[in-house]
Symmetry: C2
Subunit: 342 residues, 2 copies
Amino acid sequence: MARPTVHDIAREAGVSLATVDRVLNARPGVRAQTVSRVREAVERLGYVRDTYAANLARQRHYRFAFVLPDGPNQFLDTFRAALREAAEAQAADRLSARIEAVPAHDPHAVVRMLNGLPLSRLDGVAIMTPETPQVRDAVGRLKAEGIPVVALVSDLPNSPRDHFVGINSFQAGRTAGVLMGRFIRSDAARILAVTNSMQARDSIERRLGFDQVMAEDFPGMAVLPSIESHDDPERMARIVEEAFRSTPDIAGVYSMGPGNVPLLETLRRIGRARDLVVVAHELTPTTRAALLNREVDAVINQNVGHLVRSALRVLRAKCDGAEIFEAQERIRIDIVLRENLP
Amino acid sequence: MARPTVHDIAREAGVSLATVDRVLNARPGVRAQTVSRVREAVERLGYVRDTYAANLARQRHYRFAFVLPDGPNQFLDTFRAALREAAEAQAADRLSARIEAVPAHDPHAVVRMLNGLPLSRLDGVAIMTPETPQVRDAVGRLKAEGIPVVALVSDLPNSPRDHFVGINSFQAGRTAGVLMGRFIRSDAARILAVTNSMQARDSIERRLGFDQVMAEDFPGMAVLPSIESHDDPERMARIVEEAFRSTPDIAGVYSMGPGNVPLLETLRRIGRARDLVVVAHELTPTTRAALLNREVDAVINQNVGHLVRSALRVLRAKCDGAEIFEAQERIRIDIVLRENLP
DNA sequence: TTGTAGGCGTTATCAC
DNA sequence: GTGATAACGCCTACAA
């Protein structure tokens, strides 16, 4: 009636505990015949290993490093908060997650950080950074040392990372596009696309998806060339004002990157904050407030809690050599409107 | 450097293991002074209980029953599949979840089931059923026996259930409403609202939310009185055809309940499947296919995986007398379009 | 190739 | 009130 243990298997198979353990953990030094005797007993009794006991005996612990860009960014703030919270909640489960901050926009700093990680006291690494050849190599070195690596939010597709935790930017852009097209109540319209930098692959892919939907489903609408703030609020104000001056019939704004604070301020200043359809990415205090006061119409979001928990689960699974449960790890593209704001 | 254990606490506080355990588990029979000595040691060393070891020593296991309506329903099918999957994945963590099927639309059967549950072999119950006074009493009896109870998908707000796992139907209706209003490209339109039964509280609340948004934000649109299929496909066909005959200028259909298969078949038959804005609830094989072929424009969804995992986590927490992590347990109202289909 | 004995960190059952 | 001591189920030296 009660769950069978290794003792039951041992008795059933007529061998000792150690032999059962060797078979269960696929260790060498057991005769093929004995192996199958044990396997049969496992099968017959319906044995499932007790992970609590196993982890206890193994003295297993998971020490992870999260290499994240530093600097002021509301998305990153909420992400870091979610990570700290999750790490704290799982401390009792022998998990620790350190945040390793790296100056944003400094690819060399990321590489230095990755190469300087204390490999002997580390069981996995999560990295949020744009891909460069040097980053790729650094990931390769970590993998060569046997350390699991996951890419976070921004994929490193040409590196040997084990897994990507995040959403497909192209699909996210398509989702933004269809909302823009359907929310604008006229068939012909001009749309302004804004980001910090079109160097970032995220922005490129989002724009690609956005344009694709526009071309397919809203042929009367035209998306203007992307304007770039380079993370400079004053530049943002200038280029947005300029765009509205030279193209007054803009009906929608697609904010592909960060910088929603200066963007919305500028729209407010020029008196266009309420009559436009605005679609932005990432739910932050700013976009949340803007949804509530109807300055932003839709936010395309990736839930930071999910990102964090998924990264932790995947790293754990990779450490244990366990399968990951794909369906659970797929990060959804959330559409957040004023009405379904969490 | 390594994590402190109860042994370290005992040494630090100058007491024995047993005393430390008594303090940690708030058991009686320890002098107040000794208690604070131990507490201080815990504080000083930063001790956190190892859940693996604790669960092992306690021989803790979690046996849950899920009381679910039987009968053909795509949402329930996906829900049951998700439950089986989650239960299997957590079998190694000493969790078992049985599904107790109950004839749908038979309140007495639910009550009989609840009253007949083997209380001595049960650590928690999740219930998906409409609220009736008898159900309320049955939940009361379970609680009186000390068994944690969660309501699933459909809340039992007047019962002493510990927690509700699901979404707010009113908000879900508002979300459907705003999508309908914004997706219809004219300012004046008639909208057909369909469900199986307006007896169900879910449908009532969804309709309420839907109407509220319509009145507030789309004053030119009119929602027709809800039509009810009573779970009869032929009746569904008849009433929908009739509605379109008597009101040909319908521009949108809001499907509040189950029955999307006969609804879509009927729309197809009368040649209206592609020119309407259709908003439905719950992502199922039918609504998924309809999103892909553009017969349905938006689906309001509650992720079954989340529902299941949340219910399991909450029941576990209640068994352990632990706090639940609210943010993680809030089920989101997912908006699913063709573009962000998972 | 197989078995024995002890330990992982916590809890529970005894004595004192 | 308090303290030894033996589980819990699994893993791992080391011995045979």
